[in-house]
């Protein structure tokens, strides 16, 4: 294990490429499941994200923040359809706030006033965000009933909820 970094920066680059290739090769046969990170919900209970489940039905994990306008548009639009989606597909939406110490206390009043019925988790340190490879918000992930990642989308534009709905219907059928 005697490695000299200065002499082997090429090795680091090769490593990076190797890692990327590895993930592509393995991507087909081994789907990603939800990583395990301990987060709090709005009532102060600790939730292990690796234990998130929905009785064999799909789970949507949506990263957002109180300072992110497209995130709020996305979740407000989902809320308009949530009851119907739940009836048709049994889906559960988990909205993970990445608000840090500056704005974390704004999450609860915003959620209450918006009438969101999603499960809300708080990720102020960003451990879950990093484990899920989220670069910027909004970033939305869809897991099937077996906890396997089947779809994800970065950013939100009006109408994206229709694509998510189509993906949900594929899982329900």
């Amino acid at each position: 294990m005697h490695f000299n970094f200065h002499k082997t920066s090429h090795a680091a680059k090769s490593l990076l490429i190797a890692g990327v290739m590895l993930s592509i090769i393995m991507g087909d046969s081994y789907a990603q499941s939800i990583p395990s990170v301990r987060l709090k919900d709005l009532t102060g209970s600790t939730i292990d994200t690796g234990m998130l489940e929905n009785e064999g039905n799909p789970i949507v994990i949506c990263f957002w923040a109180t300072w992110c306008s497209p995130c709020k548009r996305e979740l407000n639009n989902y809320m308009d359809y949530y009851a119907d989606w739940q009836d048709e597909t049994g889906v559960k939406i988990v909205a993970v706030s990445i608000d840090d110490s500056r704005s974390i206390n704004r999450v609860s009043p915003y959620v209450m006033s918006s009438g969101w019925e999603f499960d809300i988790l708080l990720d102020p340190v960003g451990d879950f965000k990093r484990a899920m490879q989220v670069v910027n918000v909004p970033h939305t992930f869809l897991y099937n009933g077996d906890g396997e990642l089947v779809w994800s989308h970065n950013n939100y534009a009006e109408g994206d909820e229709e694509e998510l709905y189509e993906e949900l219907l594929k899982l329900a059928n």
Binding site: S23, T43, N105, P109, S113, N154
Partner: protein, 557 residues
């Protein structure tokens, strides 16, 4: 460094080996983000071309996970770094790497290498990355998280902090070590797990070691403390969706470049309450911080190796003019501040609420200097000043009042309006060199969104800022068109129409378009970028004006 590359390789090899045995080979996940800018000269806005004519920042994170084991690294490139980013970040290499073993059954989670962590409200310890700002004070050492029994969470950290990057990670001088314990009383006592009232006390202790020596102040020779300790008592109470908390933080004498090398102890007190009554929900927060700058190197300033983070009291605005012209940053040596936020939702189907309901919110935040008296003589040289009360001082730092209303009028049309009244002391937060004193500004915003066709929508923003001070009046217009789920195009024009200097009444026009496919996003933009200010936890960084092409690409897998 070498050990971590070895670790990572080992992890992948182990994974590969296991794959051939048809057991779980582990999973690699990652992301890539690239920001490229090329520059053109534009004397009208003061944009200059750096010698390299272009800039590139690129990052890639990789995480390998196999059962309870994971290892990760971040490869970074600054070739050269884009304008406005800390210019000393240079070259390509690994800036973050770790190996981690976590077993939730046993309640042990250990990380060796880099990690981010926060204790309590972050007033004593917060290690985090704000990449857009060029701030990264990642720890490099060991982190141990323990859950010995249900309801008890212990965090231990030990390491150095990231300071710089020159083809490899460069850590700061001091060593930071700390422990944080949080007890969730409801989980400890059987029968209380599902009670509405939940009480969670916490305690943190952090200490920094840095070689000392003597300093000469006036006629005195003073010894610099090698070890500086701080501690925080906290308590959080939940009652259903109501939540309140108090954090009291103290720090012993820590002469530093921030505080002018005075030996006064540091102190901070923060309390907040959130809750709802019928359709109203609210947040109240009061905080006082006194001499709480804490770094792993006492001689550094600004973005370098902060151990803690004192968040800004003001709202994180999203509209361009409200967010970037006068952003408030905590006055690091001390401030007394308050914020109150009120949210109200006119229900769907009600007479005033309309078919889809109407949302409103009112946010008030203010910050003043501390109530202090300067000391004289030897006492003044050593301790600087004394604080007389937990109240407000005489000098206003900021007062920000904003009201926002949002309504969906039909399936295809919604609108949002905001009014903001701002008083901003540019002596407290030096965001401009053109004006010293209090800027009084009124800001108006109207945002609309129209669904033009199936999966297509047009969004517009019209903003205006009126002020007699500094650079005078501004207006911004944004037009954005999206074709879900793949395409977008937008144009933004910022116009300094009220600048007292007529030659500076300039349009900053910038257009961009992009393509999104699942977790991959590419955008290309061209135009003029106004000089701006980025602020975080007490410090601001100026980004110079620039003109030219910008390409960004992000992807995760």
């Amino acid at each position: 460094m070498k050990h971590f590359i070895a670790f990572f390789t080992l992890g992948i090899l182990v994974g590969g080996g296991l794959k051939s045995q048809e057991s779980n080979p582990g999973v690699v996940s990652g992301n890539i983000s690239v920001l490229f800018q090329s520059y053109e000269e534009d004397s009208l806005i003061g944009a200059v071309v750096p010698p390299g004519k272009s800039g590139l920042n690129a990052y890639s994170n990789l995480i390998y996970t196999q059962g309870n084991f994971s290892a990760g690294l971040r490869y970074e490139s600054y070739l050269n770094s884009v304008l406005g980013f800390p210019g000393r970040f240079k070259g390509s290499g690994i800036g973050y790497r770790y190996a981690r073993w976590s077993d939730r059954e046993v309640g042990v989670d250990v990380t060796v290498g880099n990690f981010y962590e926060t204790f309590g409200a972050g007033y004593l310890f917060r290690s985090y990355e704000a990449r857009d700002l060029g701030l990264d004070n990642a720890m490099d050492g060991v982190r141990l998280l323990l859950n010995p029994i249900d309801g008890v969470a212990v965090k231990m950290i030990y390491g150095k902090q990231r300071l710089d990057f020159d083809s490899e990670l460069i850590n700061g001088d001091g060593i930071v070590r700390g422990i944080d314990a949080e007890v969730n009383i409801n989980d400890l006592i059987p029968g209380l797990e599902d009670a509405k009232l939940r009480i969670t006390p916490s305690y943190s202790f952090v200490s920094r070691f840095q070689e000392g020596g003597n300093i000469v102040k006036d006629t005195l020779i003073l010894e610099l403390p090698k070890n500086v300790a701080g501690w925080e008592y906290g308590a959080t109470v939940h009652y259903g969706m109501w939540k309140g908390g108090v954090h009291l933080t103290k720090k012993i004498n820590d002469p530093s470049a921030d505080n002018g090398y005075i030996y006064k102890d540091g102190e901070a007190l923060m309390g907040y309450l959130t809750g709802n009554i019928k359709d109203f929900s609210f947040l109240l927060q009061r905080s006082i911080t006194d001499n709480m700058s804490f770094r792993s190197d006492r001689d550094l300033l600004l973005f370098d190796t902060p151990i803690n983070n004192i968040p800004s009291i003001t709202k994180n605005h999203t509209y361009n003019l409200a967010a970037t012209l006068y952003p408030y940053a905590t006055v690091i040596n001390g401030e007394s501040s308050f914020r109150g936020e009120l949210y109200y939702n006119l229900k769907r189907g009600s007479k005033l609420g309309g078919k889809y309901g109407t949302k409103m919110n009112l946010v008030f935040s203010t910050s003043y200097s501390l109530d202090t008296t300067n000391l004289s003589g030897v006492e003044g040289i050593v301790n600087g000043y004394q604080r007389n009360s937990w109240g407000f001082g005489d000098s206003l730092n900021v007062q920000d009042i904003s009201f926002e209303i949002e309504r969906k009028f039909s399936k295809n049309f919604k609108a949002k309006a905001m009014y903001m009244n701002l008083q901003f002391n540019t002596l407290a937060t030096p965001v401009t060199t053109d004006f010293k004193g209090i800027v009084f500004a009124d800001i108006f915003v109207l945002e609309t969104q129209i669904k033009t066709a199936k999966r297509q929508s047009l969004r517009t923003e019209f903003q205006a800022l009126f002020t007699e001070q500094d650079k005078g009046d501004w207006a911004t217009a944004v037009v954005e068109y999206t074709w879900s789920p793949h395409w977008f195009a937008s144009i933004i024009d910022q116009y300094n129409f009220g600048n007292p200097d007529e030659a500076k009444r300039v349009h900053y026009l910038y257009g961009s378009a992009g393509y999104i496919n699942g977790p991959h996003r590419l955008s290309i933009g061209y135009g003029k970028r106004r000089e701006g200010i980025f602020c975080v936890g007490g410090v601001c960084r100026a980004v110079p004006a620039s003109s030219g092409l910008e390409v960004t690409f992000t992807s995760s897998f």
